[in-house]
Amino acid sequence: MERAKRKQPSIHTGAIPALRNGSAIVRLSAVVCGLGCIVRKQFAKGLLYLVAELLVILYMINAGIYNLKKLVTLGDVEQQKIWNEAKSLYEYVDGDRSLTILLYGVITAAVLLFALLLIRSSVRSAYAAELLYKSGKPVPGARQEVKELFNRNLQKTLLSLPVIGVLVFTILPLVFMMCMAFTNYSVTDNKLVLFDWVGLANFKKLVNLNGSLGQTFWPVLGWTICWAILATFSNYILGMLLSLFINWKEIRAKKLWRFCFVLTVAVPHFVTLLIIKQMLQPTGAVNVLLQSLGLTETPLPFFTNATWARVSVVLINIWVGVPYVLLQITGILQNIPQELYDSARVDGAGPVTTFRKITLPYMLFVTTPYLITTFTGNINNFNVIFLTSAGLPRPVESTAGKTDLLITWLYKLTIEKQYYDVGAVIGIMTFVTLGIVSLITFRYSGSYKNEEGFR
């Protein structure tokens, strides 16, 4: 296999071997994109490469180099007031705006990355054309290449737009946001217009246990993880129990019971959450009901006492999440092959054994990816916290409340308080924790490995 490969160089080789093995024309294609294609009479393709390269060069000369130069300092010209003699008033002269500079810098970096890909692609197609030419085979023309885009290269056609969408609207903003973590873009010291690179200073501030920020960060992180574990497993276990319960053969009107629970999933969550918030206020419906029944004298402190608030949000999450789990698990339960149960009964296994040996392992196998996504979803569960307790109760000296998760704290720090730098750091920290946990678990879960197991 290896030897055969070496004898007959593959068309689909990388750019580096192509440069090493190709002729001078292939190598020149790295400088003049499309040259290799034009030489082999692939005019349309070659011209496309060339035009793209010229556009990149034009952009770099016109704006790109300036943007990159500015990116180093993030701008240092302040807005100035200049006395205008003729009009006899002060005129403002615009200074640098670091945020704009940062954005344009990121865009320029993206353009440079695109240029690299362009060169790589140009070299590779020049090399492929050369190989075909040398072995005496016809080099495909433009029409044929377009045809291939709907046949052998269909993935390129289908993926291009969605991938561009993700790059522009998800990845580019993410990179932009991450860059802020290394600056001092914040309301402190009035760094909202002009700010500078500060390296890892923000990360240090956040991790430092003695600083005011660190003293908020660690408790919030701890609560976030506690919350994610509590929320995920309480929903999962209770949902599974409820589902098994309704599935019990003695229960009548199964569909009716399921409908009652599923109805709450159908109503938009923000609506139900806001309603529950109103019901649990000191003067809300629940307290009114309890007081009129004489069960309590004073209103219960659902969101005003730290422990009460934490229990409340977990309970609310159970209310919101259990029907959802029920919905998912009912489908899975019905998919477990009935033969398994039949043969277990023949062998004399009781209901507890069948649950332990058949239902539970099957369920765990199928739902591991689901468990992981709910776990990550709960770490980033903005709605349940923000729309109910809103992070309250909040100690006076702190920026985060007792039920604030990292994500709601991030919201408060950036959108409400304008500590953009710290906000970005928190975002990155959230991602890093999540990334490590889920990448490991995902890769070892059965459904990732056996993607095509049942075909």
Binding site: L158, L161, F176, L410
Partner: protein, 287 residues
């Protein structure tokens, strides 16, 4: 005798179980019942001294659709509808192309793409949204019709990452169908348009419906992007605003009415998607 005792105990157990289920259903349904009752409540204000209203009227609904002094509810509905229609078309196109490609085509870098999608999924969607907010603010789009474009872009632009359910559907269509067609000389494009698409109606409808409902359900993103700009509020942001301290006394019952108005279509949509979801999960080709 012994048998009789056992069956009696079982009867009690079964009866008790139904009782427990009834109590649980009550707990789960009570907020919904309460909001429906509140939407018809005759007395104003957020505070009510009784759990159930003492008088009923349609005024709250009337106020919602005629009083535009603070909140223009029909305008909010229209805003949300525009955004929902455009973004659901775009995101369905994205989701279906990505899911189909990753499910049925084999090419270099496929696994790498799937891993990348998974990593992107881990970022709080919120984070890239905040960045979009900075960009929108910087471009000065926060108070113009371009705000809608920005919202659609955020809802639909990155939709391709959420391909999992649709891919699961395409995975169930037997690969033999493709192979048979290709032996007969069909290109992959023909396989997609002539064979797979007609079989994929349930999953396409499912994707359309879920992404249509998205802007109606989302709160956070619209809240951040709209800021205080009332002309472009979506329903969720507007309803949240109704509960702010300065409006809650006047608007609380209308909030309940809005909740009912918005929940009925969304719940119907959801129940429909469940039907299509079940159809999709049970596989396109039966037998």
């Amino acid at each position: 005798m012994k048998n009789n005792k056992r069956s009696l105990r079982k009867k009690i157990l079964v009866g008790l179980s139904h009782g427990v289920l009834a109590v649980l259903s009550f707990v789960w349904l009570i907020p919904i019942v309460w909001v429906v009752l509140t939407s018809f409540r005759g007395t104003k204000g957020s505070y009510s001294s009784t759990f159930f209203p003492t008088s009923y009227s349609l005024d709250n609904y009337k106020k919602l659709f005629t009083d535009f002094s603070v909140f223009n509810f029909p305008q909010m509905m229209l805003n949300t509808l525009i955004i929902a229609v455009v973004s659901c078309l775009i995101s369905t196109f994205f989701v279906v192309s990505v899911a189909y490609t990753l499910s049925r085509l084999r090419f270099r870098g496929r696994k790498a793409l799937m891993n990348a999608a998974m990593i992107i999924h881990l970022f709080p969607g919120f984070m890239s949204m905040i960045a979009v907010y900075y960009i929108v603010k910087m471009l000065g789009w926060t108070d113009g019709p371009m705000l809608r474009v920005a919202m659609i872009a955020v809802y639909a632009g990155g939709a391709g990452v959420g391909y999992h359910i649709a891919k699961g559907f395409f995975d169930t269509i037997p690969i033999a169908l493709d192979e048979a067609a290709m032996i007969d000389g069909a290109t992959k494009w023909h396989v997609l348009t002539k064979i797979i698409m007609p079989l994929s109606r349930p999953i396409i409808v499912y994707t359309l419906l879920t992404s249509f409902a998205g802007p109606f359900k989302d709160f956070m993103l619209a809240k951040v992007l709209c800021g205080p700009n009332k002309d472009y509020f979506t329903v969720a942001v507007g309803m949240y605003q109704m509960l702010e301290r300065e409006y809650i006394d006047q608007w609380f019952c209308s909030f309940a009415a809005a909740a009912v108005v918005i929940s009925i279509p969304i719940a119907t949509l959801f129940l429909c998607t469940q039907k299509y979801y079940a159809e999709g999960v049970s596989g396109a080709v039966k037998g």
